[in-house]
Symmetry: C2
Subunit: 101 residues, 2 copies
């Protein structure tokens, strides 16, 4: 036992926030540099602006995204998270090979 209640654990906050549509994708799309609202939107398969705006607010509140002069960009933490996504990307490729030969 001696575990903190789930809701207080940072990982739970992450699993919950990032387990929402477009959250991870947005970070993924920002990894190569800042993007403006509309550009980011079309990079994310044309996600609706209302949702995009909501996600951006959430990600800013979590400290992953910030407004820069070139549009929206990743913060230090955002970059760090993006790096984890790149590792996941490599993992995903191996996983995919295993799946379908």
């Amino acid at each position: 036992m001696s575990k903190k209640p789930h809701k207080e654990r940072p990982i739970m906050l992450l699993l919950d926030s990032l387990g929402r549509r477009w959250s991870l994708r947005i970070i993924w799309e920002l990894q190569d540099g800042p993007a403006k609202f509309r550009a980011l939107r079309s990079a994310c398969d044309g996600v609706s602006p209302s949702v995009l705006n909501k996600r951006i607010s959430e990600l800013r509140k979590l400290g992953f995204v910030e407004k820069t002069d070139g549009g929206y960009g990743l913060t230090r933490d955002g970059e760090s998270l993006a790096e984890r996504l790149r590792k996941l990307d490599r993992w995903a490729r191996r996983w995919d090979k295993r799946r379908q030969g």
Copy 2:
């Protein structure tokens, strides 16, 4: 250029599937061993059985979860993904400290 279209890339499949509610959480909750449907359900804050069932099917199709004698458990790939989540957990704690001191 020379990038594959997004939809064909494994990472996109992952970002899309795991970017759904409870997907990551389910894997997280299964990391300590198999769990039966109802136990898993209450571990996941009482997620509704319809959604849980849908998620389990998806995760099984992706090859992360399988039916074992003790309930639902992680496959090799599932374990591997769970290991990544544990790393994310450690990362999340550092991130949390940075945020709120």
